[in-house]
């Protein structure tokens, strides 16, 4: 250990010496000179002649040159010295053949840039931990298995379960809960729609988040419902909305028509635990009943409603596994207790049994809760794979070029070896060249990546910009780019360097300069690279064609309604302080007046927008229908106004849709979709049957089915969520709605007038998300479109690079064989014979490449099946088309040198030789 330390100290001192080299060298000389002079004087004093004295001094000193050389040598950091020396040499070489340098740097810049760009997205969307204290200690709790009750959101847990785990677990130092909500802050002149986070009192202490001003919550702020109406602002919102004014603390803020006292501002950069929805306002869980009318006291403490995400901080020494194991007994105690509660009195034995089989999962929580991450994780890995392949192809091209150059340089290398240079030294120099190229290419790639990331961000829909992805590289990205550059340099430089440093010295030196050929090893290596390039490009081509056809399939899907003529926007009347009665009057009047706008054919509204991944599902109980154990009794639910069906162009099969006469006081009515009717009633008419919503068998079945309409794509175009139930707007409890307009002509023409009208009617109700439904549809396909277009772009790049590789190898071979071909032509070989001579090689290379790629493609494609729609990953048409396309253009790339060889004048060739 000590020896190592000493070695390091010495190397470091040498490194310093190297940097200040000039001065050092002089110092040694001076010192030695002085010593010699003193010795000489001494010998002169002893009576020697100056000449003899000088000689004696030198003898006494020992080899002067050796010593000074040794001192110089020892005072320097060798690797740095040689690196600088080699780099200088390489730069001179580059200046000599700038075309080669530019081509390779460009190739590398594209390859490394693409990888860095995708990595930047991955890092920020998927890999990065939140800016909280020791994020790797923070975990999220997830109840797994068949739940009995209602669920709101991803990984949700009930408040009562949170309380019990918080108070009785042994694994965590803190347990906290939170939920993202949309809130409206009302100011005298306007309203802000805010992204809010409902958090428990210990939230900030668990995450180690301090206050930038005022204070953050502690557990005293979260004791009793509605007892402490307080709020904490995010730093960002404080800066932008209140200009960072500290006097805001202590003031009242009207949120969802409920006054909250601002007590502080969270530290800069903290945006809550859902990075896709950066929180602007934090409120205690106990203000929920006042802020969210649909979550009243009884519901928020109902063990049968899961609505909060629960996070814990592991105690020191605890791991995720040990915490998970330690929590199971407690979790099962809770389940056992819950099953005895009144909420279960009507549950079947089957439901109870499955409920009791649940278990509590512990997952890393340092990245927060993100639906976005789940959506983008797989696609980004796919793209990372694609760009990785592109870089491999670029490496193959460069390796091939370097191998060719090493062959040209063989004479020089042979000379150097012959006069005593070591092979290792030459390999080192050749690798320095490739690594230097890669690092320069990497720097250019890094610049390119910033541009690429910016254009990639344009792909993401507006509602994801909350992620605030930055395109400027930070330290992590720099490290990634540097690492990948070094790796690339080694990857493409190593084999050519090893090959290049092993010429047959005697043979090479004997031969004429012009006839020094690369030798069989070099050509075979380059052919191998071509095969690999063809194989990889085919893989990418097959992938891209699958993605393109999958996207086309999605575009061809008929959503079941007329998307083309529709405009949509959200109006949140609840946040303007309306109650149900007034809210209903408002929406009815809004629709009536919207229909009078020029160009508007029909208007309607729904509580949940279509194609926006709304997940309002409900357990359905149909009168007279016996649920079989394990039967799926869920249906997608939406609450719509009478005008909705006409506006969206949803087709009525039988019965009727809602009318103005269906009010809160009239009998409850529902409209169901075709698939729903078929599931419960088969060929029998569905009209006149009764149903209810709820998992409880005592649920009243008091809703009459009055109509059957066609199935539509409710959540998105991919999932067939066909069983749908429409509730009648006035007969329920929603104070927000998405309004739809069916427009004659260009739907964009009514956007401004519709907004003006809504604002005129109620200035305090914010109008948001105004867009055409076509636009919404495109947004819902954003991931598919991103994969399809990016993989296509990268594939084009990859194929172009591979063809360039094939072309250059064939062109090189043709030059090598010019003499042979010349003789053949002179002896009467026809154009076709010569072309065949070359094409034979091309065909073999391409065929081997394809033979390698197709089975690989079949294997790899299985991993992207989940990203495809309406097409099998082993689709023979896609594979066939890609193969034929690649083979065709590869033949063309090979034919160009073949034709040149065949049409060369044999006389000229032979005379030149």
């Amino acid at each position: 250990m000590r020896a190592v330390w000493r070695g390091l100290k010495e190397q470091f001192s040498r490194l310093r010496g190297s940097v200040a080299r000039r001065g050092f060298d002089c110092e040694f000389d001076e010192e030695v000179e002085a010593h010699l002079a003193s010795l000489t004087e001494r010998f002169v004093r002893r009576g020697l002649s100056p000449e003899e004295a000088r000689y004696a001094a030198r003898k006494e000193f020992g080899g002067v040159t050796q010593i000074t050389n040794e001192l110089r040598e020892r005072s320097r950091f060798r690797p740095l010295e040689t690196l600088l020396q080699d780099s200088g040499y390489v730069l001179r070489q580059m200046r000599k053949s700038p075309l080669f340098a530019i081509a390779s740097i460009l190739t590398l810049a594209l390859g490394i840039g693409a990888n860095t760009a995708i990595f930047t997205l991955m890092d920020q969307l998927i890999l990065r931990l939140l800016p909280i204290k020791d994020p790797q200690q923070v975990v999220e709790l997830v109840a797994k298995g068949d739940y009995y009750g209602d669920n709101m959101g991803l990984n949700a847990i009930s408040y009562t379960m949170y309380q019990t785990i918080r108070d009785h677990n042994q694994a965590f130092s803190f347990v906290t809960c939170r939920r993202s909500v949309q809130l409206t802050a009302m100011f005298p002149s306007q309203s802000d729609v805010l992204s809010g986070e409902i958090v428990s009192g210990n939230y900030f202490s668990l995450l180690g988040i301090k206050a930038a001003a005022g204070r953050v919550f502690d557990s005293k702020d979260d004791l009793r419902p509605n007892a402490n109406p307080v709020a904490v602002l995010s730093y960002e919102y404080w800066k932008t909305r209140f200009a960072g004014d500290a006097r805001i603390i202590g003031r009242k803020l009207l949120v969802n028509n409920y006054p909250l006292t601002i007590i502080g501002v969270a530290q800069p950069g903290f945006i809550g635990l859902e990075p896709g929805l950066p929180a602007q306002l934090f409120v205690p869980v106990m203000t929920t009943p006042a802020l969210l009318p649909h979550l009243d006291f009884s519901q928020m403490f109902d063990p049968r409603l899961r609505w909060l995400n629960v996070y814990g901080r592991l105690k020191p020494g605890k791991t995720i596994e040990s915490a998970q194991a330690a929590l199971q007994p407690l979790f099962h105690q809770i389940l056992q207790a819950e099953v005895l509660q009144p909420g279960f009195e009507h549950a079947t034995a089957y439901q109870k049994e499955h409920f009791l089989r649940m278990w509590l999962g512990v997952i890393p929580g340092g990245q927060g809760n993100s639906i976005l991450r789940r959506q983008y994780e797989k696609p980004l890995w796919v793209l990372m794979g694609v760009t990785g392949f592109v870089l491999l192809i670029a490496c193959a091209n460069l390796a091939s070029l370097l191998a060719a150059r090493a062959a040209v340089r063989q004479k020089e290398i042979a000379v150097r070896l012959a006069i005593g240079s070591s092979r290792a030294r030459i390999i080192q120099q050749l690798i320095t060249e490739s690594v230097l190229l890669a690092v320069i290419g990497g720097a250019a790639g890094l610049a390119l990546a910033t541009v690429l990331v910016q254009s990639l961000l344009a792909f993401l829909p507006e509602n994801t910009t909350g992620y605030s992805i930055s395109s400027s590289p930070d330290l992590r990205i720099l490290c990634f780019a540097l690492g990948i550059s070094l790796l690339t340099g080694l990857l493409f430089g190593l084999i050519p360097a090893l090959q290049g440093a092993r010429p047959n010295i005697a043979e090479t030196l004997k031969a004429q300069a012009a006839s020094v050929t690369g030798g069989a090893a070099q050509i075979n290596f380059r052919k191998l690279l071509v095969v690999a390039q063809i194989a990889i490009s085919l893989l990418l081509l097959i992938g891209a064609s699958l993605f393109i056809r999958s996207l086309a399939n999605l575009h061809a899907v008929n959503p079941g309604f007329e998307a083309r003529q529709l405009v949509q926007f959200d109006v949140d009347i609840g946040s303007a302080g309306y109650d149900l009665q007034r809210g209903h009057v408002f929406y009815t009047e809004l629709e009536r007046r919207l229909e009078q706008l020029p160009g508007v054919e029909a208007a309607g509204n729904a509580s949940n927008a279509v194609l926006a991944d709304s997940d309002w599902e409900s357990v359905i109980k149909v009168a007279g229908h016996e649920n079989k154990p394990g039967e799926n009794v869920l249906a997608y639910v939406n609450r719509v106004s009478p005008g909705y069906f006409k506006t969206l162009g949803i087709h009525l099969f039988s019965g009727r849709t809602f009318r103005a006469s269906d009010t809160a006081d009239s009998p409850k009515v529902v409209v169901v979709s075709e698939s729903f009717a078929r599931h419960y009633f088969g060929r029998e008419p569905a009209i006149g049957h009764f149903m209810g919503r709820g998992f409880d068998p005592t649920t009243p079945t008091d809703m009459e089915i009055i109509g059957v309409v066609n199935d539509i794509d409710y959540q998105n175009l991919r999932d067939k969520d066909a069983r749908q139930v429409y509730l009648c707007a006035p007969q329920g409890l929603e104070l927000y709605a998405t309004v739809y307009l069916n427009v004659k002509g260009n739907p964009r023409s009514v956007l401004a007038s519709a907004r003006r009208l809504a604002h005129e009617m109620e200035p305090k109700a914010p109008v948001t998300n105004m867009k055409t439904v076509e636009h919404q549809l495109e947004e819902s396909l954003v991931i598919e479109r991103m994969i399809a277009s990016l993989s296509t772009a990268f594939t084009v790049l990859a194929v172009a690079l591979a063809l360039l590789g094939l072309y250059s190898v064939m062109a090189y071979m043709v030059t090598q064989r010019a003499r042979e071909i010349g003789i053949r032509v002179a002896l009467g070989a026809l154009f076709g014979n010569v072309v065949w001579l070359v094409m034979r090689e091309v065909i073999v290379l391409v065929a081997v490449g394809i033979a390698v790629a197709v089975p690989l493609a079949l294997g790899l494609a299985r991993s992207i099946q989940s990203e495809l729609y309406g097409i099998s990953s082993s689709d023979p048409k896609s594979i066939g088309a890609a193969t034929i396309l690649l083979a065709g253009i590869a033949m063309l790339a090979g034919f160009l040198p073949a034709r040149r060889a065949a049409s060369a004048d044999p006389l000229k060739v032979l005379r030149y030789e």
Partner: protein, 121 residues
């Protein structure tokens, strides 16, 4: 590369590593010295028993400097020649102490071994 050897066989070659120890000790006892001074001091103490290429003093000095055991600064020698003066550092004193103990232990052991071997004859 062959190192120049003097034909004088009576003088012993300096053991590898012992020169460092001698220089450290010299600097510890004498205070700051230049290379020439160190060579003279060692010559004087060794009473011409040790054969030393004076140049090797400098490689030793560089080595000690790189380990941080001595430091150097430019000054003027007795005859007003510009010279680099070396002085021992704190770490160097510690090292000297350790190395001295080490040396004495080994020397003791070797002495015993040689005596014992001699006795058995």
């Amino acid at each position: 590369m062959s190192k120049g050897k003097t034909p004088d066989q009576k003088r012993s070659e300096v053991l590898q590593g012992t020169l460092d120890l001698m220089i450290l000790k010299t600097l510890d006892v004498m205070g700051p010295l230049h290379g020439y001074g160190i060579a003279r001091r060692i010559e004087q103490l060794s009473e011409d028993v040790l054969q030393l290429n004076e140049g090797t003093v400098y490689t030793s000095l560089l080595r000690l400097q790189q380990q941080g055991w001595i430091c150097s600064s430019w000054g003027a020698s007795e005859n007003n020649r510009k010279a680099k003066f070396y002085s021992i550092t704190k770490a160097g004193r510690k090292q000297l102490l350790e190395e001295t103990e080490n040396w004495e232990r080994i020397a003791g052991v070797i002495g015993k071994v040689l005596e014992a071997e001699g006795g058995s004859r």
